[in-house]
Amino acid sequence: MITAKVNQNQALKTAKSGRKIRAKNTAIGWSFVTIASLMICLFYFYPMVQALILSFQSGTGANLTFTGLDNYARLLKDPTFLTTVKNTVIYLVIQVPIMIILALFLSVLLNNKTLKYKGLFRTAIFLPCVTSLVAYSVIFKYLFGQDGIINIMLMKLSLISEPIQWLTDPFWAKIAIIVAITWRWTGYNMIFYLSALQNVDESIYEAAKIDGASSIQQFFKITIPMLKPIILFTSITSTIGTLQLFDEVMNITKGGPGNATMTISQYIYNLSFKYTPDFGYAATVSYAIVIMIVIFSIIQFKVAGDKNE
């Protein structure tokens, strides 16, 4: 009887101390993640809430008053905003696909087992990623100058008879920016595809070859489906990156000529720090980018998901 009670007590004790240990462990676990979580909340989520509140206010500098949905109404009628959305979408729908196809193509070429100087090619094509966005933008600004080296070379090769106004013509300025971004990021995306390709089983290609599939068929029927998750990942990161485009445009064309190359991010910057500051309206414009990121990400997930079925 007594021993039974002692046993019972002991069991109770261990259960209690077990609970204590578990509680202690939970506390320790949480303490590891606290600083980072608080920092992210403080510097990402809290400002987003602030921006939302700001987007219903208007005024110059610190003199803000609530104006309800006025900013959103202004947004839809603001020609500069609509131009910047148009520009950003043009960069997005032209540049991202070109870059991804180019990167895929190069990675397939580089994945050839019998190819020589593979490391050399890979390093060369990845090299642009080492440069800072500002540094490469300034370099490209001068490369594309009216008497810049690109015009000089094109004229020497007799491809053009007079210099192209790369930076002062609304059409060519957009091309210059697209070329610059593609130069900077193709190698970066290529590295992702290359490492994914190395995980693809060689025998699949051999089987396809035996079945008589051409290189092009192999590319579309095997490579692309096998790399789909990574293509989705890179296209989403590229989309988010392009929607936030700022450094390049700021340093290559300053948004000009007129507003022909200006992006949404640059417009937010101008509204807040260049023109008479209107933080409320700038916050409204910034929510437009957030909404676009959400929409484009959903579209990309949908497109990739449907093919999975």
Binding site: F43, Q50, L109, F121, L127, V130, L133, V134, F192, S286
Partner: protein, 272 residues
Amino acid sequence: MSKRIFSYTVLIIASIVSIFPFLWMIVSSTNKSVDVTKGRLLPGTHFIENLQNLLNTVDLIPALINSTKISIITTVLAMLIASLAGYGFEIFKSRTKDFLFNFLLLSMMIPFAALMVPLFRMFGTISQSVPIIGIDTKTAVILPTVTTAFLIFFFRQSTKMFPKEILEAGRIDGLTELGVFFRIYVPTMKTTYAAAAIITFMASWNSYLWPLVILQSPENQTIPLLISNLGSSYSPDFGMIMTAIVIATLPAALIFFIMQKHFVAGMMGSVK
């Protein structure tokens, strides 16, 4: 055979296009501005002259010091904060923590352009009471960028492969939880730290928009701000500007080449 020639041709063209702007930058930094505009593509002898011009025109050395300080502090803090969290989320896994983790990942979708106005106002408010961490200070540059969901994610992914028995052994040997982390986890994860540190250092060294917004006085200028200012001058001295860009790009390029394997491994680790 023709396929092979095609592969080599495409890869050689791609390599030339990738390298050309670098070559042009390096060659131009050794030439006079007039020769650069004439399209000279041969190395010259004016590098020292360009460098002297540069040192006389702008505060290059202070900008280099500012950028170095900011990047090193950001990297050290980021490693500590993100690896503690990545470790915590994986080793002390729980349903609530997983929910929090996924919530934190959402911050990766937030564009910086949407954050800069509220952040600027936030530091403006702080300035009024504590000017040393307010607008126009290094602290204000560092604080908002030091913790990224990406790095936490990166460390958590790498921790998944970590042999957890070693941690248990450490606990049995009487180490505290922090002791286990610093004495066992950190030393074994050197490669992960190297990759994460390169990514963070380069991002911080090259960061432009936030310093542009928050830094105002010329003596606080960082390298990207200095180059951007040089690049927007009306009568640019090309030789001098290219010298500045060479100096700004070389440290990052050197670090990259020395630690290339870690860098690529780091990029991959983030996806797997």
